[in-house]
Subunit: 188 residues, 4 copies
């Protein structure tokens, strides 16, 4: 039932966006009555939050799967693969992505987004740590992770939302480059 509500919530979010996601619309989409929502969630935003968290969890799981055990691969390979996984994972209906990006930070004090970024950040940090000696000397790993996670996330979202006239491969290429160059020791 919680499942059914979340699924309906996701569908409504994907179709109507956050502002169109009224409780009655979600209830109708779930084939239940408005009151039933409150048997499982304390208020509307808790539903939206749960939908976003579930999506976030899937995304994190996907990224994690793609990176795990690949740390010894050449950097360009694993970075590119990871970015591709993220791009694929974020490639959902635009209103849904927009709701996540716009309203996620407002729900429960940004809980969902914070958790997402923290978990991806830990993953990145772990990776950077194993590669520390190949990185630019003096680089603060936590700072680097903070920068990269937000950069990559935002550019990917923007790419999907704004659909700039750049090929997917080219975009991934540039994103990889941005990432790798940032970490790379500065020649000279």
């Amino acid at each position: 039932m919680v499942e059914r509500i979340l699924e309906a919530g996701a569908r409504v979010l994907a179709e109507h966006g956050y502002d169109g996601a009224s409780t009655s619309r979600i209830a109708t989409a779930a084939g239940i009555s408005p009151g039933s929502l409150y048997q499982y969630f304390p208020h509307k935003d808790a539903i939206v939050l749960a939908v976003l968290e579930r999506y976030s969890d899937q995304l994190v799981a996907g990224i994690t799967a793609r990176m795990t055990g690949q740390f010894e691969q050449p950097a360009p390979v694993i970075v590119r693969a990871t970015l591709a996984a993220l791009l694929d994972g974020l490639d959902v209906e635009q209103p849904f992505l927009r709701a996540a990006v716009v309203h996620g930070p407002q729900l429960d004090d940004g809980r969902a987004l914070r958790i997402f970024e923290d978990r991806i950040g830990e993953l990145v940090l772990a990776y950077l740590t194993t590669r520390r000696d190949e990185l630019r000397p003096g680089l603060s790993l936590p700072t680097a992770a903070w920068m990269l996670v937000r950069t990559v996330e935002h550019l990917t979202v923007r790419y999907l939302l704004d659909r700039p006239p750049v090929q997917r491969d080219h975009f991934l290429q540039e994103l990889s480059q941005l990432t790798l160059n940032y970490l790379r020791p500065t020649s000279t």
Copy 2:
């Protein structure tokens, strides 16, 4: 009169954020009646949009001023100066910045944000063009500009909104590094 409304709108946005910016609050702040707003703007969001556009214009002007005539300076210098200008320009009241970032993209199909980014993008593109031969070969300048503008904008906003435990100078340093390294030719 339009001026008065915009000024009031900015004040209300800075103090109460988007959700607290009701038409009556803006009207009160402007010392006029709610109905009068509609003599000058078709609806509430047009006011917010205009406020954001005015702010955006100032920001662009500031950045432009800082870059203009500085193209021949060493890259690290001009980049750093530009980033600092952006960081300063965006360092406004948090509710205002949040409103701009969260609701800007929703207003008139993202008009204000698009214009802002386009103009900064042109500036960056112009600069990159003058420096083309120092850049990574094969780099698509428009793509590079697209990437950099969004990256720098987003990281700066996040830095101001989330206040991560990173010193301002360190942050600017890393942001410069990210920018410069991205453009720099890859030493084999």
Copy 3:
């Protein structure tokens, strides 16, 4: 307009009682839209409270008028006249009286009722003070006023609400007796 709302509120209260006094019913009765209520009152209970306070004010004014300048009349005369005034003043539609008695004490922490009783209490206290030497020795005037105000108020309300098989005159007679005897010196 406030007047119109109060009048409508009183009518709705008189016809449907407290529980039937929904905001939409009051608005309809006043010939306005629900939203307009909130231009003049912060919430529904403020309307009900204001209705009750207005009624209370009239009642107090009526009682005051009947007692003022009559202090030198024989006690049985003034007491009887006052009680009659109260009985008449409280003889409104039953649902209204019931709403006042049942919900008055719950609104704004009993404000309306407290004020009503305090004002009648002061009146009674003033009267008792002028008659002190005819009263039972050792009688605490404030306590006596407290007892009498509540007794008389309650019995009158109950008489009107329950319609016991007692003639109006007889009831007033007994109420007078209760009052006078309570105050009278106890003949050894």
Copy 4:
């Protein structure tokens, strides 16, 4: 089972008052499910009514016990004892007393309150009848009982609910006086 529900209802009423006494809260307190309530009671208010009736029964029993066989005692003694019994009997949790006083009259057309007052009234009437020759001549005993029962009940309730700055003994003294004086023959 009915017993269990009533006990739970009383507890909930005492702790949360009428408005906080939702069916689900009562069910939880009784350790059963909401639906089961309807196996034993037709609707929520029937539960509350039954709770109040049970309480009323205890109260009546207590008063009766205190008066029975005491009729030959001096009037001041038995009156005072009876009033004290009432004051003690009504000295329950405020939310419970409030619920009884406020909502009792609304339940089943005031059934519980009517029965309570009728029974106390009969007791008083019986007592008055045995003392008829000491009472004010011409006094209608039923009317006197009606007046006294309501007066004493209300003043006691108000004393407990409003906690006026009057000592308990003083209050009982005045209440006795009010009662006795009302009945006493008027010295010329």
